[in-house]
């Protein structure tokens, strides 16, 4: 078993029993569940909207090379510099070089999962650059020196008391402060930073090909400020974020908002197509877009799993997942958690190391049910399981056990030889991991053939 797998199992067992954790998560997800239907009301046919969105993403991904090149050409016309990165290291090198050129000492950053994926903050710290998370949830997580717990709601696992305590410890504020007061503290602290920072970093919810722009969805205004004040704006985006046209946003903005937070649209949905233009009043002098592969082309090359690249990171599948709710976001120890994380991580990183995540599912299908762009998540989890066994990454003992079992169950005479006691022994002993977190399996004392005969004679 891989190291990640062992750690995952231990941590899941601990978290699943942590009732305090469960209470906070249920409270948060309960609020989410209450608002999503309100957002959905705006659609005349929400299923049609989701299916259309999947169709659009299919088109974008099936012609990914064409759309990325078009984006590159169009945005370059407005002075944006497009850089490509095959790996996290290459992306960090780009950022490092730009920061050095600009003598950057302070960098403001808006919420972006891809910067978590490449561990940007750790890198900047080593370079001696202060990186300031400006999204409130990320700011809280940065103060606590913890990675985000959830792709949309980074501090979902903290109660307001937890946050008040954290702020009191780190910033010396009143330990009984309310969410309003805490927010105000963050506002005051960060307002100065936007103006001081030499560089602003944002992610991109979408890369828009036809006009050569990137789109950022947010509620707080920190992303807008991060690409308004600093002289240099760096965007880091996964290559799969493409939408063919600016017109697609009329569907994708409301869809992402509804499935992400239950809003009709979030407060700010912005498109950035370049640095400040000659006739414009303000804005950065330079803009860079770093297009990151980092394993995404592996997923693309796998036709069966390719649709996982359609994900718009709304977080709905995390909120719907019984496993996520019980073991929590940190237990996964991956940048992307929950069902979508379990689907993509083995492809982005390493099948052997992360295949266990594909088993962290009850296959209830709730993720597929709620997915904003109708990705068949639970089927992709099964697909991963199949692949991990095919490429031989299931444990040897496990594979021999399955082989023996398969042989026995295929051969009727061998099956009929053994009554339930033998089967119980075979299964419960050979598949030790089955019984670790489940009770022993109890097979009937009669064989199937015996039962069938009895059933027939009763007719």
């Amino acid at each position: 078993m891989s190291e990640s797998a062992s750690s995952f199992i231990v941590k899941s067992q601990l978290k699943a029993r942590d009732l305090e954790h469960r209470k906070k998560i249920n409270f948060n997800i309960g609020k989410y569940n209450a608002t999503v239907p309100v957002g959905k009301e705006q659609f005349s046919d929400v299923l049609l909207a989701r299916e259309k969105a999947k169709q659009v993403k299919w088109k974008a991904i099936e012609h990914l090379d064409k759309y990325l090149e078009q984006f590159d050409i169009e945005t370059s016309k407005r002075g944006t510099k497009v850089l490509w990165a095959e790996t996290a290291e290459q992306a960090l090198e780009h950022v490092g070089r730009i920061c050095k050129e600009k003598n950057c000492r302070t960098l403001v950053k808006s919420k972006s999962m891809v910067t978590e994926e490449i561990h940007l903050n750790k890198f900047l710290e080593k370079e001696g650059i202060e990186s300031v998370e400006t999204d409130l949830g990320e700011y809280i997580q940065q103060l606590d020196d913890e990675p985000p717990y959830h792709i949309v709601t980074p501090a979902m696992h903290k109660s307001k008391e937890d946050v008040a305590k954290l702020f009191a410890e780190k910033l010396g504020t009143d330990p009984a402060a309310t969410p309003e007061q805490l927010t105000l503290v963050a506002r005051e602290k960060l307002r100065q930073k936007y103006v001081q920072a030499e560089v602003g970093v944002t992610g991109a919810n979408f890369i828009i090909s036809d006009i050569g722009g990137i789109a950022v969805t947010e509620n707080e205004g920190n992303a807008r400020l991060s690409c308004a004040w600093p002289k240099t704006h760096i965007v880091i985006a996964g290559i799969e974020k493409v939408l063919p046209s600016i017109s697609d946003l009329a569907l994708f903005w409301p869809l992402l908002s509804t499935f992400g937070t239950g809003q009709k649209v979030t407060v700010y949905n912005s498109i950035i197509t370049g640095p400040k233009q000659a006739n414009e009043t303000d804005g950065p002098e330079e803009m860079y877009v770093i297009l990151l592969d980092n394993g995404r082309t592996n997923l693309l090359a796998n036709a069966a799993a390719r649709e996982a690249l359609y994900c718009i990171r709304c977080g709905a599948c995390l909120n719907a997942c019984p496993v996520y709710k019980n073991i929590g976001g940190h237990t996964y120890e991956t940048t992307y958690s929950g069902p979508i994380g379990s689907v993509i991580t083995p492809h982005l990183k390493d099948m052997d190391e992360y295949k266990h995540l594909s088993y962290a599912s009850s296959l209830c299908g709730n993720c597929t049910e709620v997915c904003a762009v109708r990705i068949n998540l639970h089927e992709l989890l099964l697909e991963n399981r199949r692949e991990s066994v095919l490429v031989g990454s299931a444990g040897i003992a496990e594979r021999i056990a399955w082989k023996a079992w398969k042989k026995a169950s295929l051969s009727r005479s061998m099956m009929n030889m053994s009554n339930g006691k033998v089967k119980n022994w075979v299964v419960n002993k050979m598949f030790k991991s089955w019984t670790r977190s489940r009770s022993d399996l109890n097979f009937s004392q009669k064989t199937f053939n015996q039962m069938w005969e009895e059933f027939r004679s009763d007719l």
């Binding site: 099936e62 095959e86 400020l225 308004a228 303000d282």
Partner: protein, 212 residues
């Protein structure tokens, strides 16, 4: 071409040599996903904008707008209002409002901008850097006051995007934003707090004007 670009595009093309079938080809031309408007756009906008804690006011003409602004500034004791739009300043000035003492957005108490359009369905204000207010004015000021005209109302985001495409063609501004209500967060226990990094209050004064 950088080698990274070359390698990535090569890998993509190799991968796409195996296509996957379209999931919903019959939806290729589907277009209308949202409920149609049930009422006049002014009312639709006002309702949606107010629901999101926006503050809405209707003015019959520029004179009434100037009076309302005057009253608002007085009730809030504002002395430092920031505005970068020469036309608005001029129009307000001729109608008796010229309280624009703030030299910059850093120290102002409120900012005044215009907009490209209002989107009725979502209660949103569409702004771009095609306007003098630029990227900072409407987001850094603690209070944002938007002045819009009745001929700037459209129903859906789609209409707004079509408008921008027609207006700017190949010269799309470097920054476009669809702003919907005051800045907000729910990052602490999903408790709604208004005024995180952007404005705590957003006003929209809708002034009667016939399309010229």
């Amino acid at each position: 071409m950088s080698s990274a670009k070359h390698n990535i595009l090569k890998k993509i093309r190799q991968a796409l040599a195996t296509p996957v079938p379209a999931p919903f080809p019959h939806h290729e031309n589907a277009e209308n996903f949202f409920k149609p408007s049930q009422q006049e756009l002014e009312i639709e906008f006002a309702e949606n904008f107010t629901k999101l804690l926006g503050k809405f006011s209707f003015c019959a003409d520029m004179k009434e707008l100037s009076e309302q602004l005057h009253l608002l500034a007085k009730s809030r004791n504002w002395t430092k209002i920031f505005c970068r739009e020469p036309e608005i300043k001029h129009d307000l000035h001729t109608n008796g409002f010229s309280n624009f003492e703030s030299p910059d957005v850093h120290t102002c108490e409120a900012s005044i901008t215009d907009c490209e359009l209002l989107i009725a369905r979502t209660g949103s204000i569409l702004m771009t850097t095609g306007q003098r207010s630029g990227r900072t004015t409407s987001v850094y000021a603690p209070v944002h006051i938007c002045i819009a005209y009745t001929d700037q109302l459209v129903y859906d985001i789609k209409d707004g995007i079509d408008f921008l495409k027609r207006k700017y063609r190949d010269n799309i501004p470097s920054f476009i934003t669809l702003a919907t209500g005051p800045s907000r967060t729910a990052d602490i226990e999903k408790t709604l707090v208004v005024g995180v990094h952007g404005p705590k209050e957003v006003f929209c004064f809708l002034v009667e004007r016939n399309a010229s």
